[in-house]
């Protein structure tokens, strides 16, 4: 009897095959952010407050456009959500699941088994990208759990980060990761090897990170920050309860969506074996 292929199979497979990696990344984020919260909570506030404002490039390390100084509790917590370790762990998930969207199966030869079944290319893409989005969303939420706990146990953390600010910071982090998911999916739909996806995502993230800080530190390069996704991610500002960063979230979301649209167009045309 002919039936419809069970929906969600590829979604579950994508997460099941990477469950150990995702659990490890989640634990890593929990441990790292807990450390940041513990350090921030342990420092007396009067020792942190600088007498003179720090340069804008240093505020950028705190994930702020100038409203939150790095040498403050909110600044430290914001820095924890923009630290290269946070970025590396988030991108590890993006690269691993992103490479597996298409390129991994093409490289391994497992695409042949899927290709002779009634699963359309768009369904393959949709289910695997959905898995990637869910994994990224969970990791972004996991990263702010220590801050939520920190608000309960430390007055200084409670004062520095608002409840709504924590969720806005998580959402802003997800918007940044979403943009890189778009890059990973685009590379995966165009490439035949995982290494290409890893290289493209890694190089894009490293370049964007460098551009953001060079642009903030060097007046002549200021204009270049608009092309870096990191310019649209300011967890420090979010934590202190600034206005919801609609523009930043929309820019990152639109960039990710455009990359995914191009990926879908490439996937429709390419050979899968």
């Amino acid at each position: 009897m002919t039936t419809t292929p069970r929906s969600g199979t590829l979604f579950r497979l994508a997460l099941m095959r990477r469950k150990r990696l995702l659990i490890s990344l989640a634990l890593g984020l929990l441990a790292f952010e807990s450390l940041i919260v513990a350090v921030a909570a342990a420092i007396p506030v009067d020792q942190l407050m600088a007498t003179k404002p720090a340069p804008a490039s240093l505020d950028a390390f705190a994930g702020s456009s100038g409203g939150v100084q790095l040498a403050s509790i909110a600044g430290l917590l914001g820095a924890g959500l923009l630290h290269p370790f946070w970025i590396a762990l988030q991108l590890s998930a993006v690269e691993s699941l992103g490479a597996a969207v298409v390129a991994g199966d093409v490289e391994d030869g497992t695409m042949e088994l899927i290709g002779v079944r009634p699963v359309s290319r768009m369904r393959l893409l949709a289910e695997r990208v959905a898995a990637l989005k869910v994994a990224a969303a969970v990791l972004c939420l996991v990263a702010v759990i220590p801050l939520v706990v920190g608000r309960w146990i430390s007055n200084s953390v409670e004062t520095a980060a608002t409840v709504s600010g924590l969720f806005v910071a998580a959402l802003a982090g997800y918007a940044l990761v979403f943009c890189f998911i778009g890059v990973a999916v685009l590379a995966s739909c165009a490439a035949r090897r995982r290494a290409v996806v890893l290289g493209v995502v890694g190089a894009t993230a490293a370049g964007a990170y460098a551009i953001n800080f060079i642009a903030q530190a060097w007046e002549s390069a200021r204009f270049a920050r608009w092309i870096s996704p990191f310019n649209y991610y300011r967890p420090g500002d979010a934590l202190v309860g600034s206005a919801f960063p609609w523009r930043d979230v929309l820019v990152l979301g639109a960039a990710g969506a455009v990359f995914m649209l191009i990926a879908a167009l490439i996937l429709r045309r390419r050979e899968l074996v």
Binding site: T3, P5, G109, T110, E112, I114, V116, R117, P118, L272
Partner: protein
Amino acid sequence: MSAIKCSGLSKRYGKSRGISNISFSVEPGEVMGFLGTNGAGKTTTLRAMLGLLRPSAGSVSILGLDPQKDRKELTPNIGYLPGELRLYESLTGTEHLALLGDLQGKESTRRNEVCERLQLSQADLRRPIREYSRGMKQKIGLVQAFQHEPKAVFLDEPTEGLDPVVQRSFSQMLSEFSNAGNAVFLSSHVMSEVQQTCSRVAVIKQGELVKVDSVDALREARSRRIKVLFGDSVNPSDLSFPEEFNASWRSNECILHVNREEVVGVLKALLVRELIDVTVEEASLDEAVIALYDGGEQ
């Protein structure tokens, strides 16, 4: 209506050759072999037939449907075993078969039966694929190709890595499958396997089909092999045979390759000598195919 029909199928890769103008058909209930050397174009043909590659020219019809346009309707009714079978190493055998079954769009009604016939125990199926031997992986590949009762199967080197007992069981299974009116397209370079299971063969050479014929006709067209053991009174150096007989000597034993029409005459000529034993053998499929590859038929 043919179960499988290829008409002028071509696939080019830039300037490289690929396959060119492949045409043949497979009838319901038929097992057709597809022979060729490594790199001749067997796998490319299979992939183009199944819609895994987009043909540069020509058309394919499987069970009356187009593999590209009617993919959703067609694929639940076909089974495919790739030549270079790759599986998800982290999944167990059971998980793998369930995954591919879920994606098949058809109930996996024969899974347990095929597992049993290929000696794939429940204990084996509970182990992750990464612990499987080559033969065990091949069994999983065969089960996933047959578990949903397809009407046409495409097998690329199906017995690779299987032990002789399972090979025999698989041959029986294939025979029952075709006797039930289903079509089989079997690509292989193991001639004995093709000779045993296929009624017709298509031979591909450098991307082009050079022959489509029954196994019997191919062998029939080839020369007979006459093996003669002479008595001690016969001195091999006293005997001379025409060059086309391709005579080869080992001590007092001589092997000749003789056209079917000339066999009786040659035997008559040999019988005047002291002979201990004479056997006349039909050419094997290997010899017939090798002759095609060498550029002609005898």
